[in-house]
């Protein structure tokens, strides 16, 4: 009973906050709604007994979203002064979301204590459980049955990395390289080589 109530609450909030993500005009608000939505998704995962995935959601997504938040703030060229002024305006929403999260946390823990929701398969039987622990189960599948896909996904990440480097990394042109600081060269420097005397004739310059 408690699980069911929790499920519907989380599910409703996931959808509602996802809608708010795209509805709100203020990008900062969107990010806040997004965090709420991720949290609720994580709550759903907890309810079905996938604690590991729930933690991943919180750590990776919510964590990453914080970074994304920074990027957004920096890239959207938002005036920090007005941001600070807007803090007061944003605060009520932030506080409200925080409160909702707190309430959910309590409810979620309660529901988790009451046991996981049973997931079904089309033929009506319960999904098989390889190991007691989430992590063990996932690991066993990833490195046997889904090995090929797991490695392929790795290559996707590698390609993404290569792509990022290709598109952004710039070799300094040779002309600029000469102006580079070469510490070894600086250390090897001695007065004899660094200075010389010259007595140019009047009206003539000196060739360095």
């Amino acid at each position: 009973m408690l699980q069911t109530i929790a499920f519907y609450l989380f599910a409703t909030l996931v959808v509602a906050s996802a809608v708010m993500v795209i509805m709100s005009r203020n990008p900062v608000h969107s990010v806040l709604w997004l965090i709420l939505s991720f949290f609720n998704a994580a709550g759903l995962m907890v309810l079905v007994g996938a604690e590991f995935i729930a933690m991943l959601l919180v750590i990776v997504y919510v964590g990453a979203v914080a970074v994304l938040f920074l990027f957004v703030v920096m890239m959207l060229d938002i005036d920090f002064a007005s941001m600070r002024a807007g803090f007061v305006r944003n605060a009520p929403l932030g506080i409200a979301i925080a409160l909702v999260l707190l309430a959910e946390l309590v409810l979620g823990i309660g529901a988790y204590r009451a046991g996981a929701l049973i997931l079904g398969t089309p033929d009506g039987t319960a999904a098989p459980l390889l190991f007691e622990s989430n992590i063990e189960s996932i690991g066993a599948l990833l490195y046997s049955r889904y090995l090929f896909l797991f490695e392929s996904a790795g290559i996707i990440l590698l390609v993404a990395m290569i792509g990022a480097i290709v598109l952004t990394h710039r070799e300094r042109p040779a002309a600029h390289r000469r102006a580079h600081q070469d510490i070894g060269k600086q250390v090897r420097r001695n007065p004899k080589e660094a200075t010389f005397n010259a007595s140019p004739e009047i009206g003539k310059g000196i060739d360095l």
């Binding site: 392929s152 590698l158 390609v159 598109l167």
Partner: protein, 487 residues
């Protein structure tokens, strides 16, 4: 689980990924000066991969023995046919690239590596027997493709092409994933065979949604109307060797994948998707032809041409029979040759300053400055238009034949009628090259590698290509049968 067997089945993928990693290290160590050797090595790797898929192709391998990792990966004859095309077009794109980028001072060692990984992704796509494999392959290919599209990062159009491709591709991926999650939700499985088994009866609305979304996501990849919008912009903006790649390997993979998903996973629900495929086919033919007519840019024109050709391919798919699948493969093979030949011909045209000529006005009277190139390009155009002496006619013929034999006579008739519109702009290119006053823009010599490719493709596209009809038809038939379409 017999890992040894699995590794043998994924041997081409293993080879390509390991070579890609090794070459990446070489590239990181030696730098861009090694770009040319790496390209050659990458081409060699793909050549070896061709030999590795050869047996499966010629035997028309099928059945449980070709399934690796519990059916997630299928190394059957169908996949082998597509992979052979993909690898060969990959080799072509590796051959033409160094000269192009070096002239622009933009050759980087990452290009062959990205091509390799993209080819790897397309290979996984055509071998997928599972929605997850499908998605992994698609993303692997796409990510590399996004980067390749904006490979000339200092060129605004190239960057724009990459960005547009990326964003729309992400949207398409979203649509695809949503569909996959629905299919999974309503069938409880991501395996094609099991989905097929689960989708025997009347579909629930949710499953139907899933099916449509999955096909829509794939339609983006093959650039069928109305998911074609990215094609002209990306083809035009991307560097020409990359465009050549886009028009060949990923296109083959996406089409083959769509055929596999439609006929295998959704094969028993053909009534649900056939009419949509028919609409997409006709819309692609018409819109591709209409769009091409007004174009000044040759690459953009060829982009519309590819949309147009996808329409014909979809006619074969709409037939929904092994024969239709075979016709699709034959068409793909011919189309790939024609499109590579056309792009190589365009790649060989430079003005006095060494800039690449892409505008149709600049090739006016090309027959006088570069008679052989003009002749071959004209041949390619006539072949793309499907005029009988050229080999391109055969592709259209088998597709229409399949449609007629599947009782889609009206579709075949409409397709033939619409192909007349397409003939207009192909013939316009021929007319401009042969009958207009010479613009005198094109000058300079072309690289031997380009000539080899151009003449090779020209021979296949020429009426001599008809010598290939029987072996090509045999291989395609075997490949289509290996899809195991029977319930």
């Amino acid at each position: 689980m017999d890992f040894g067997n699995y590794l043998a089945l994924i041997a081409p993928e293993l080879l390509i990924s390991i070579s890609g990693l090794v070459l990446l290290l070489v590239a990181a160590w030696v730098g861009d000066s090694a770009a040319r050797p790496i390209s050659i090595l990458a081409a060699l790797v793909l050549g070896v991969a061709c030999f590795m898929v050869g047996p499966a192709l010629f035997d028309g391998a099928s059945g449980p023995d070709t399934n690796a990792f519990a059916g997630q990966f299928r190394a059957d004859g169908f996949a082998a046919f597509a992979k052979m095309l993909i690898y060969l077009s990959g080799i072509a794109c590796l051959m033409i690239a160094p000269a192009f980028f070096e002239r622009l001072g933009a050759m980087r060692a990452e290009y062959p590596i990205l091509i390799l990984f993209s080819v790897l992704g397309t290979g996984i796509m055509v071998s997928s027997g599972n929605l997850i494999t499908l998605y992994i392959g698609l993303e692997l290919n796409s990510l590399a493709a996004y980067v390749l599209a904006s490979f000339l990062r200092n060129d605004g159009r190239s960057a724009e092409a990459g960005l547009k491709y990326f964003i729309l591709g992400a949207l398409a991926s979203g649509i695809l994933l949503y569909g996959m999650s629905l299919v999974y939700g309503f069938t409880g499985t991501t395996d094609f065979t099991l989905i097929r088994a689960a989708m025997t009866l009347e579909l629930s609305t949710g499953a139907l949604f899933g099916l449509i979304f999955v096909l829509a996501g794939l339609a983006f990849k093959i650039a069928a109307v109305p998911f074609h919008m990215w094609t002209p912009d990306v083809y035009e903006g991307a560097p020409t060797p990359v465009t050549t790649f886009f028009a060949s390997a990923p296109k083959v993979a996406a089409v083959a994948l769509t055929v596999r998903v439609s006929l295998d996973a959704f094969g028993l629900q053909a009534d649900a998707w056939r009419q949509i495929v028919i609409f997409a086919a006709l819309a692609s033919i018409v819109l591709g032809a209409l769009g091409a007519i007004g174009q000044d840019n040759l690459k953009r024109l060829l982009a519309y041409s590819s949309i147009n050709n996808v329409g014909f391919i979809l006619i074969g798919l709409a037939a929904g029979t092994p024969q239709g699948a075979s016709a699709v493969l034959v068409y793909l093979a011919i189309y790939v040759v024609m499109t590579i030949g056309s792009f190589v011909a365009i790649l060989m045209l430079r003005d006095a300053d060494g800039n690449y000529v892409e505008n149709i006005r600049d090739i006016a009277g090309l027959s006088r400055a570069k008679p052989l190139i003009a002749l071959i390009l004209a041949g390619m155009m006539l072949s793309l238009a499907g005029l009988p002496p050229m080999f391109g006619f055969w592709g259209k013929f088998v597709v229409f034949q399949a449609a007629v034999q599947a009782d889609l006579i009206l579709l075949a008739a409409l397709g033939i009628a619409a192909s007349v519109i397409g003939a207009f702009y192909y013939l316009k290119v021929v007319k401009v090259m042969f009958f207009d006053e010479p613009a005198g823009v094109v000058q300079g010599r072309s690289e031997t590698g380009h000539w080899v490719l151009l003449i090779g493709t020209a021979i296949i596209v020429s009426p001599l290509g008809y010598l290939l009809t029987i072996p090509l038809g045999l291989l395609a038939d075997r490949a289509a049968v290996s899809l195991s379409l029977l319930p």
